[in-house]
Symmetry: C2
Subunit: 125 residues, 2 copies
DNA sequence: AATTTAATGCAACTAAGTTGCATAAGCAAA
DNA sequence: TTTGCTTATGCAACTTAGTTGCATTAAATT
């Protein structure tokens, strides 16, 4: 597990997440950054930032991978109950700061939960 | 929206879901049925059964689409709070019969929720 | 049995994400 | 500030999930 270097590309990606309140899909990131860096680079950066606990990812309803800033996560200690909201209309996804209590299941070890809410966002109502 | 015919292929797919307690990913279905029918057919059947309210689908952590039998769903009335469990070890996914209360969010219209629990299943513990 | 309409197979395609490898750029120590 | 090591990037080619168009086949209905 390598050290993350603060390259121009890494800074560019981080800035995008600073600017945005929303989560971003890998596809959207590639689209936004296609003038500035290679698609492979985008995928690799975002995976690296995930390993570092700076971003977290989740699968949207469409199966696409979405990334968002972690609030209060480090690489060693991950807060895993991340509720997300995705708009059926525009597809945009947001991080919610609601706490989700993870139900226990017999004979299973549950170590994280992903709650994805679907509906219509403020813009699309 | 056409009528669903009880073709040999449809019956075969339904039997698979009868036999299994677990959900099945589209990929796994294609794999299991590759001797009996075409990959395209699998995808189309499973979509049709979803429209009919016989199956429901959700995105696993890996982004793959999973299908499972609906309990108490019809095409007109869908019970949308479906918690699922996916094993990090073997990847298998199960339907849970726990009720999930969907949190409300201001300025948003939430119409369904997907709760995906991750961890280790009975077999992999 | 004839007819209609939905279902299937096939091949070609799209799109997300990955891999290997050569080159470039960070970073630390001298 | 240069040297040298290691990580990061670009590029092209690849893999894999899922889709589409179209000709053919098989349900269902009469």
């Amino acid at each position: 597990m390598g050290v993350v270097r603060k390259t121009k590309s890494v800074v560019t990606v981080l800035n995008l997440f600073e600017e945005s309140d929303y989560s971003l899909s890998a596809v959207r990131l590639v689209e936004l950054l296609n003038k500035k860096m290679n698609k492979t680079t985008v995928y690799r950066i975002v995976e690296r930032l995930k390993d570092e606990g700076i971003l977290h990812s989740f699968a949207g309803k469409d199966g696409l991978t979405w990334y968002a800033k972690c609030k209060g996560c480090t690489s060693s200690n991950h807060v895993d109950s991340h509720p997300h909201f995705q708009c059926r209309e525009c597809g945009k996804s947001e991080c919610l700061s609601i706490d989700v209590q993870v139900p226990a299941i017999s004979n299973h070890k549950v170590d994280s939960a992903e709650l994805l809410l679907m509906g219509h966002c403020a813009d699309c109502l």
